[in-house]
C-alpha cells in the first residue's frame, strides 16, 4: 500500500527519468496535480485538445508548471511552461507519481495474523491484522495481503499480488445435492491458482472447487465485492469491476472488461477482449472476441471497430 511522500525534483530530472524530450526552463516540481487544480511547481498531464485549452488557461495564471503533453501537441504549445512530450502522457505521469511521490508501507506479517504450518511465504510478503492463512498455501514474493483476509485450502498465489481487506480465497464452493428433503454439501477439495500481479479487491471471494481448479491468470484485476465461483478461469489481464458475479465454471478470456454488477451464468465461455456493460446478465457464450455486450439478458451492443448494432 502506498502513501504520499513529499519530494522535490526538477523538470529535467523527470524528463531524464522518462527518457523524453523537454522544452522550456528547468523548473522545480514538488507535487503532481490534476490539470483542474494545477498550482505553481506542479506536474500535470495533457492528453486531449480540451485539456490543452485548459492548460493554456492555467498557464496564463500560474508559473513554473511542468506538463507531460501528448507528443502530437508539440507544435501547439503556446503558454509559458515546461513541456515534456510523451506518446502516453497519463502513463508517464503515473510512473513519475509512483516512483518519486509515493512511499510503500513496510511489509511485515502482523502478530495477530495466523499463518499455518504448511504455508510457504516468499520474500517480503505482508500479512495484515487478523488474517488467517491456513492450508497448503504458497504466496509469492512481494505479495501484499491486507487485514481480515482468509485464505484456506490448496492455494497458490503469485508474486507482487495485492489481496485487499476482507477478501476470502478458498471458501468452499456453493453446491448441494438433494437427498430427499435434505441438501448434502459436495466436498470441495480442489485448488486455486492465482498468477502474478493479481489484484483482489476488498471483500471479494474466490471459491474452492470440488476436484479441479479455479484459475486467475496473471495481471487480472478484481474490484471490491466480486464473486468468482468455483472452477472458473479468468484470463490474463482481465478486469472485473465491483459487484461482478461469475456463477461457477465460467471461462473468461484474456483482456476482458466486466462492468459493475454484471452477472455471468454458470459454464459460460467468454472470448478474449470482450467488454460486458454494467448490470448485464450473460446467459449465452460469447464466441467472437473483441465485442461489447450489454443488457438483460445481454446482447451485442457494439462490434469491434464497428458502429452500434441495432
Amino acid at each position: 500500500m502506498l502513501k504520499f511522500r513529499s519530494n522535490s525534483l526538477t523538470s529535467d530530472e523527470i524528463a531524464e527519468y522518462l527518457q523524453l524530450e523537454v522544452v522550456g526552463n528547468s523548473v522545480i516540481v514538488t507535487r503532481p496535480m490534476s490539470l483542474e487544480s494545477v498550482l505553481q511547481d506542479s506536474l500535470c498531464y495533457v492528453e486531449t485538445l480540451p485539456e490543452l485549452e485548459l492548460l493554456d488557461t492555467r498557464l496564463s495564471k500560474t508559473s513554473n508548471v511542468t506538463a507531460i503533453c501528448q507528443l502530437e501537441f508539440k507544435n501547439k504549445m503556446t503558454g509559458q511552461g515546461t513541456f515534456i512530450f510523451s506518446p502516453n502522457p497519463r502513463f508517464d505521469f503515473y510512473r513519475v507519481l509512483t516512483e518519486f511521490f509515493t512511499e510503500e508501507m513496510p511489509h511485515f506479517v502482523s502478530p495477530s495474523a495466523y499463518v499455518g504450518p504448511q504455508v510457504k511465504l516468499g520474500h517480503n510478503v505482508s500479512i495484515g491484522l487478523n488474517s488467517v492463512i491456513d492450508g497448503q498455501i504458497h504466496v509469492g514474493y512481494n505479495t501484499f495481503i491486507g487485514n481480515n483476509v482468509s485464505i484456506k485450502g490448496i492455494v497458490s498465489i503469485g508474486s507482487n499480488c495485492v489481496i485487499n481487506d476482507g477478501a476470502i480465497i478458498g471458501g468452499e464452493g456453493f453446491e448441494f445435492i438433494k437427498d430427499g428433503s435434505r441438501c448434502i454439501h459436495v466436498p470441495k477439495l480442489g485448488r486455486i491458482q492465482i498468477g502474478d500481479r493479481v489484484w483482489i479487491g476488498n471483500s471479494s471471494t474466490v471459491e474452492r472447487p470440488t476436484l479441479d481448479e479455479t484459475i486467475i491468470e496473471s495481471d487480472v484485476k478484481i474490484d471490491d465485492l466480486v464473486h468468482v465461483g468455483e472452477s472458473s478461469t479468468i484470463g490474463a489481464a482481465s478486469q472485473l469491476t465491483a459487484g461482478t458475479v461469475l456463477a461457477k465454471a465460467v471461462k473468461l478470456g484474456k483482456n476482458c472488461f466486466l462492468g459493475v454488477n454484471c452477472s455471468v451464468k454458470q459454464r459460460i465461455q467468454i472470448a478474449d477482449d470482450t467488454t460486458i456493460g454494467m448490470g448485464a446478465v450473460v446467459i449465452r457464450d460469447v464466441v467472437q472476441p473483441g465485442h461489447t455486450f450489454a443488457g438483460v439478458p445481454s446482447r451485442i451492443f457494439q462490434r469491434s471497430a464497428e458502429p452500434v448494432s441495432k
Binding site: E16, Y17, Q19, E99, E103, H107, H123, N124
Partner: protein, 384 residues
C-alpha cells in the same frame, strides 16, 4: 554518476547541498577547508574547460556485447550492463542523480533509466551466467528510483539465485537525504535472507556527514545493510592527511567501512582535481602507516585505469613517468579471462601484455601544482 546527452556536464546542486554550503560558510568561513570541500565538488569551475591531457570521457569501456559472434547472429545483449570481472557485473539502473559531482566518472554516459523489459532482459542474462555472484547497481543513483530498484532486486532474488550480493553505489544520502525513500528499509530487511545488501557511499569530507545522513546510515545498518564508503582523493577537497584522518575516524564511529581511496581518474574536465600519483601514495602511506588511524578504518589506495581498478602496492608502478606524463602500471589481470567473461572485450590502446600474459596499462599522472580556487560569490550559486 550521471549521464548527459548534450556534451556539457550540467551543474546540478541540490537544494539540500545549497543550504549545507550556506550553513558551512556561516560556521567555518568562505576560505575554510570545509566550505571548499563542498564548493569544489559541486560548483562548475572554468578550469574544467581548459584543455588538458585528461581527455577520456569514460573511465573504461566494458559494456557487454558479443562481438565474437558473426554480425546478425549474436543474441541480443541486454542494455545497461558492464563487466570487467569474473564474479561482478555493473548494472546502470538510471542515470539520474540528485546533484552532479564535477569529477563524475560517468558524466558522459547516455542518459535515461532502464525499462521493465530491459531489467527483465538483464535478469535472465544474469541467471544464465553462473560465474556471476555479485551485482553493483549504479548509474546514476539507484536509490533515487526506489521502485525500479525494488523491482530489479525482487526479480534477481527470484530468478537468479547465483547472485549472493547486491551492492548499490549511491551519493543520494550526502546529496539529498530527504529524497531517500524509507520504504527501502523494510525491503532490504525482508530480502536479507536471499541477498546480502551493501550500500557503497562516497563521502569525501567529514562536513558531508550531517545528522540527516547519519540517521539514514543507522537505519540502513539496522535493516541489515552493510554500509561502506569509497572516496576520491581530490585536490581542493580532501588532499591533506588531516582532512582524511578526520573523515576515516568519523566513518569508523558511525559504522561505515572504509573501502577504497581512489586517485582521481584522468577524465575530461577533471585535471584540476588530480594529484601527483607518487605524492598521493605517500599521503596514503602517512595515513595508514603512522599509527594514527585504526586498522579497521584504513582504506586501500587504488587507481582506476583504462582496464579497471588497481590497488597500489610496492612494484605497482613500473619505472619512471614517460615524457607524456604516463606511468606504466603492473596488473595481474589477464586478457583471456576478460574475454571469457565478456567476449567482446578488447584491450585498450593504452594497455599491453607482459611476458606472462598479465595486462600492463598506461596511467596518466596528475599534477603536483596546488589547487586553484576559482571563486564565485555564493549568492550567485544560490540563485541558480
Amino acid at each position: 554518476m550521471a549521464g548527459t546527452s548534450t556534451g556539457f556536464f550540467k551543474e546540478i546542486i541540490s537544494p539540500y547541498l545549497r543550504e549545507l554550503m550556506e550553513r558551512t560558510k556561516e560556521a567555518y568561513g568562505e576560505g575554510s577547508k570545509e566550505y571548499q570541500a563542498l564548493y569544489n565538488q559541486y560548483v562548475y569551475s572554468p578550469a574544467e574547460s581548459i584543455p588538458s591531457k585528461e581527455s577520456n570521457s569514460k573511465h573504461y569501456e566494458a559494456f557487454v556485447h558479443n562481438s565474437q559472434e558473426p554480425e546478425g547472429l549474436s543474441p541480443a545483449q541486454p542494455k545497461g550492463i558492464e563487466r570487467l570481472y569474473k564474479r561482478q557485473l555493473v548494472v546502470d539502473l538510471t542515470m539520474v542523480c540528485a546533484a552532479h559531482c564535477r569529477y563524475c566518472l560517468r558524466a558522459y554516459y547516455n542518459p535515461g533509466s532502464l525499462s521493465t523489459e530491459e531489467m527483465d532482459a538483464i535478469v535472465s542474462w544474469v541467471a544464465g551466467e553462473p560465474d556471476l555472484r555479485e551485482l553493483l547497481v549504479t548509474g546514476g543513483d539507484p536509490l533515487i528510483v526506489p521502485k525500479l530498484l525494488k523491482y530489479f532486486i525482487s526479480e534477481i532474488a527470484d530468478k537468479a539465485p547465483n547472485i549472493k550480493v547486491v551492492r548499490m553505489g549511491t551519493r543520494l544520502l550526502v546529496q539529498a537525504p530527504e529524497k531517500f525513500n524509507s520504504e527501502l528499509y523494510s525491503f532490504f530487511s525482508n530480502y536479507s535472507k536471499a541477498i546480502k545488501f551493501e550500500v557503497g557511499l562516497q563521502v569525501n569530507h567529514k562536513v558531508e556527514l550531517t545528522p540527516q545522513v547519519l540517521e539514514i546510515i543507522a537505519n540502513l545498518r539496522k535493516s541489515g545493510v552493510t554500509v561502506y564508503s569509497q572516496n576520491v582523493l581530490l585536490k581542493g577537497v580532501n588532499d591533506d592527511a588531516e582532512s582524511l584522518l578526520e573523515l576515516y575516524d568519523e566513518l569508523r564511529y558511525i559504522g561505515v567501512e572504509s573501502h577504497y581511496l581512489f586517485h582521481a581518474i584522468p577524465l575530461k574536465g577533471t585535471a584540476h582535481f588530480r594529484t601527483d600519483l607518487r605524492e598521493s601514495i605517500l599521503l596514503a602511506q602517512r595515513l595508514t602507516c603512522s599509527g594514527q588511524l585504526s586498522g579497521r578504518a584504513k582504506p586501500m589506495f587504488a587507481i582506476m585505469t583504462d582496464i579497471g581498478k588497481v590497488v597500489m602496492y610496492e612494484g605497482s608502478i613500473l619505472g619512471d613517468k614517460d615524457s607524456d606524463g604516463y606511468y606504466e602500471i603492473q596488473t595481474f589481470y589477464k586478457l583471456a579471462d576478460r574475454q571469457r567473461w565478456n567476449p567482446g572485450y578488447q584491450l585498450p590502446s593504452t594497455a599491453r601484455l607482459d611476458k606472462d600474459g598479465n595486462i600492463v596499462v598506461k596511467y596518466l599522472d596528475g599534477d603536483c601544482s596546488p589547487f586553484e580556487f576559482h571563486f564565485e560569490a555564493s549568492e550567485a550559486i544560490m540563485s541558480r
